[in-house]
Amino acid sequence: MIGLSVFVWTLVGIFLLVAWKRRPETIPEIFSRFRSSGRIFVGIVPMALLAAGFLAPLVPSDLVGRWLGDEAGVTGLFIGMLAGWCLPIPPVIFYPVIAVLLKAGAGLPQLVALIVAWSVFALHRTLPMELPLMGGYFVSLRLMSSIFLPVVAGFAAMGIVELLRMS
């Protein structure tokens, strides 16, 4: 994790230098965007993390294990997909929920199915943004083409987890 941080910070340094050399007038805009997108990480995200940490030990892990754990198998993929469809919430709330489920013993393939279903379906984006902008035809075409993706992703994840375990 330290290596990753050093790498990203180095990248930031190089990019900033390039931006400053080429178009110094963009620097204030870069920092104002950074400030506005960074705001929730000073306030909301740490609180969400705290809440997720507190709630994880309270979630009955046998229940999560039975519905979304490795022992739930293929049924768990479908349960994950259903759960993902039913969570039209922004990522700030969604990922703490995933963190709680993961700590409570949910399996990786089942969570993959859940996350893919959430991100493809995403009513919180589709209804206010996509539908008015792109129209019903595009939305229906897109949803029809991706309706089976969560389960496909879940199966692929099962294979990948097996492979990683073997190696």
């Binding site: 930031v12 990480f41 990522p91 990922y95 393939p109 893919v116 943004m129």
Partner: protein, 191 residues
């Protein structure tokens, strides 16, 4: 010095007086209390200790990622992505759409208007659906900003490996479906 303090104060007020922040504080405090009631002080302490690596990550890693996203957003020539995808159909369009979708920073306010512009410029259904699907499930920005700090590296790794081919599959399926499920006459798009 005085001005710096003033700006700092204003920043802190902006964070603290946000409704959602207040809600988040209430939820965090309530869940902490609940844990204390049910499992006792030791469980609360264990939970806090568990959080330490995540918070370290939040401090050390996240500002860099957000800065990087801001730099890319500001510096990326606006017409670049449109030109790549505007090439339209074919295998190349789908590959480009997958990569462009995965690396498009920002929320739906960036990606959907872009798709509408591409559609008007004559792009095919396959790259359009591929692009939106890639942006939805492979979004690098969302993974770096939300997923890795909150759930670690293992789950995103498995997820990317499992999902990398899905956007092209969705795009090709859309192209196929559009042959017999035809677009309404008069075009697509509300505005």
């Amino acid at each position: 010095m005085n001005r710096t303090l003033e700006t700092l104060g204003r920043g802190i007020r902006a964070v603290v007086w946000d409704r959602w922040f207040v809600l988040a504080v209430v939820i965090a405090a309530a869940s902490g209390l609940l844990l204390y009631q049910v499992k006792g002080l030791e469980a609360v302490r264990a939970a806090l200790i568990d959080d330490i690596p995540v918070f370290t990550l939040l401090v050390a890693f996240l500002p860099a990622v957000l800065l990087l996203a801001a730099i890319i957003e500001v510096m990326l020539p606006k017409g670049l992505v449109e030109r790549w995808l505007g090439v339209g159909s074919g295998f190349k369009g789908i590959v480009v759409a997958t990569i462009a979708g995965a690396f498009t920073p920002g929320g739906p306010f960036v990606s959907f208007p872009l798709v509408l512009a591409l559609y008007r410029a004559g792009a095919d259904w396959a790259p359009l659906v591929t692009y939106i699907t890639a942006w939805s499930i492979l979004s690098v920005a969302r993974t770096l900003v939300f997923e890795i700090p909150l759930v670690g590296v293992e789950l995103p790794t498995v997820r990317y490996l499992a999902c990398i081919v899905l956007p092209p599959i969705a795009g090709v399926t859309a192209q196929f479906i559009s042959r017999f499920y035809r677009a309404p006459p008069g075009g697509v798009g509300g505005k």
